[in-house]
């Protein structure tokens, strides 16, 4: 399979007043299409920053990012938003669902940005919910679901518009072991059966075992290690 994501000499500098903090230093990385990559490292090492750059949520201070041939570092805010809508799904540690919308409506959110009509949106969201095993919880609000179920709704929302790439920032960080394994198993299925390329940040070595590789980030620099 070809390369989906290409990072070249990528760096990120945050300016706090007069002080400049270089969070990522000249990172070079290729991520293959269909890969499931885990990213580990100490707190503050820049994992979220790197993930945000790959997902097109932030822009680098130097270097380039290309995803499926599209140079993200050259896109403006509006174009980047459109690109995200079409190409990436996001999963966060705290699920970040809309509390006042049902699971179904939450999953439909990304489809509001497509040309699908109401009936098609309902249908696709229903399929996504079924895929994560929550077909019977469509009418429930996030507050009526367990953490693991909420995270699975979030995954359904991330995949509903069928993006090639999923970026997950500590998706099991707030879950008990069993729920974490459900979520990780689901991600593995999405990777293996549905060909999604996944980049996942985690602090948990057990979670990293679900991935094909693990990258280690330390003080903004990459240390690659192959997993068994």
């Amino acid at each position: 399979m070809g390369t989906l994501i290409e990072l070249r000499n990528l760096s990120k500098v945050y300016e706090r007043g007069r002080q400049k903090v270089e969070v990522l230093h000249h990172i070079d990385l290729d991520i293959a299409e269909g890969d499931f990559l885990a990213m580990m490292g100490p707190s503050g090492s820049g994992k979220t920053t790197l993930l945000n750059l790959i997902g097109g949520l932030d822009s680098p201070s130097g270097g380039s990012i290309a995803v499926a041939g599209q140079r993200l570092d050259q896109l403006g805010a509006g174009a980047l938003a459109r690109w995200r809508a079409a190409h990436v799904g996001f999963v966060f540690q705290f699920y970040n669902l809309m509390p006042m919308l049902s699971a179904q409506r939450n999953v439909e959110l990304p489809l509001l940005l497509t040309r699908l009509n109401g009936a098609q949106r309902r249908k696709n969201a229903g399929i996504a919910l079924q895929l994560v095993g929550l077909g019977d919880r469509a009418a429930h609000k996030p507050g009526e679901l367990s953490g693991g179920q909420q995270q699975r709704v979030a995954i359904a929302r991330a995949i509903v518009s069928d993006p090639a790439l999923l970026v997950c920032d500590e998706p099991t960080g707030d879950l008990d072991r069993q729920s974490a394994e459900d979520v990780l198993g689901l991600l593995r299925t999405l990777n293996r059966e549905h060909g999604k390329t996944i980049v996942m940040v985690t602090h948990d070595p057990k979670a990293a075992e679900y991935a094909n590789h693990t990258l280690h980030l330390d003080k903004g620099t990459l240390v690659e290690q192959a997993t068994a």
């Binding site: 949520l57 938003a81 995200r84 970040n96 809309m98 509001l112």
Partner: protein, 388 residues
């Protein structure tokens, strides 16, 4: 609009707060509807085409100072005057001094100058033929359950009859209807009696007239004619002031109160409070949704659509409360008019009030939503997601 459910859900995320805010918006627009009706009714008073043709001549000193009856013939001679009539204030009350009745003692041709007053020919004939006859407006008749043929006692708060008693008695010979319901509410409350009967009966009036009303041939000549009428009495002991009916009504109203100013001041205070209140609600609503707005942007909603959604939310809030408030005003106003016994004749919330109201709702909504919407638009995704 496919985002409506999102906006609606956001609006009712904190039900209690939103409902409280809505209640105050409802109250503000209820008040707006009421006060706008009061303002409109004052604006409309005396603003008819017929009114523009009529000149009122009263004493320059005070409107209670009478004028000699001899002026009638002189005014009739003034070029440009087509017709002249006169009347006296009778100051009647029915049964209780609080039941004030708009009662005028009028010359036989009085009604001829008021095309706004309809009275059927038979009733008019009966009135002309009677001495103690009276024509009463339909609202007034309904208020006191009077019918043609009734003999009714009326107290004058000012004038005693020859026996020294202030109790007068009249025979109702006909009912008056105003032909123009918009400006004519007043005529439906009139009580007209013969000036001659009045003059002969009270020792307090001897050939004197409260005011003259003349109809001009050409509205554009009204000012010139008015000056000519006033010139008749210049340097006499009964100098006059002649004005168009509109000007008279306006100056009367001004003496009562500058309604426009009062209404404006009250509404200003109300809307200022409303602005602070709903502004605060919107600010809070957006602040506590920071993470959710960040997620919308993450998913790919543009900054501009996030801006539009917050603005729409704020406008929707105002529209919901405002429409209910104005609707309530429309429902309550007829009751208020009825409850006042016809003294207050408020127009219902008309198209112009609705338009003004809706414009206000949208304007306040946009104003109140502007800052939170701008913040939502500028929200940095990465910072918001990290809780910074």
């Amino acid at each position: 609009m496919k985002y409506l459910h999102l906006i609606w859900a956001a609006l009712f995320r904190r039900k209690a707060r939103t409902v409280l805010t809505l209640v105050s918006i409802v109250a503000a627009f209820l008040l707006f509807g009421m006060l706008d009706a009061v303002r409109t009714s004052f604006d409309q008073a005396g603003q008819s085409a017929n009114g523009a043709q009529r000149l009122q001549t009263g004493s320059k000193l005070s409107f209670i100072q009478p004028l000699p009856q001899s002026l009638e013939a002189q005014i009739a001679q003034v070029p440009g005057v087509k017709q002249v009539t006169y009347a006296n204030w009778f100051g009647g009350a029915y049964q209780d001094p609080h039941n004030q009745v708009f009662s005028f003692a009028v010359a036989p041709n009085y009604i001829d100058l008021y095309p706004e007053i309809a009275v059927d020919p038979a009733a008019r004939k009966a009135f002309d033929a009677s001495r103690t006859g009276a024509l009463v407006g339909e609202t007034l008749a309904r208020r006191f359950h009077w019918k043609v043929g009734d003999k009714i006692p009326l107290q004058s708060t000012i004038f005693p009859n020859r026996e020294g008693s202030k109790n007068w008695s009249f025979d109702i010979v006909g009912i008056l209807h105003s032909t123009d319901k918009k400006t004519g509410g007043f005529y439906d409350q009139l009580f007209l009696l013969h000036w001659k009967y009045f003059d002969e009966t009270t020792p307090y009036n001897r050939g004197q007239v409260g005011w003259y009303v003349s109809r001009v041939a050409d509205v554009n000549q009204a000012d010139r004619v008015a000056r000519a009428i006033d010139a008749l009495s210049a340097n006499s002991d009964h100098e006059t002031r002649t004005q168009t009916e509109q000007a008279t009504t306006a100056s009367w109203m001004k003496q009562l109160a500058d309604i426009g100013l009062i209404v404006g001041a009250i509404m200003g205070a109300v809307f200022f409070t409303l602005l602070l209140l709903s502004g605060n609600t919107m600010m809070q609503a957006v602040r506590e949704r920071t993470a959710e707005l960040a997620v919308l942007k993450t998913i790919g909603f543009s900054s501009r659509s996030v801006l539009a959604m917050v603005l729409a939310e704020s406008v929707l809030l105002l529209l919901l409360g405002g429409v209910v408030g104005l609707g309530l005003a429309a429902l309550l106003i007829p009751g208020v008019s009825a409850g006042s016994g016809g003294m207050l004749n408020l127009p219902t919330v008309g198209a112009s009030s609705w338009l003004l109201g809706l414009a206000l709702m949208v304007a306040v909504g946009l104003l109140v939503g502007a800052l939170p919407a701008w913040r939502a638009m500028r929200l940095n995704i990465v910072d918001a997601l990290a809780g910074r």
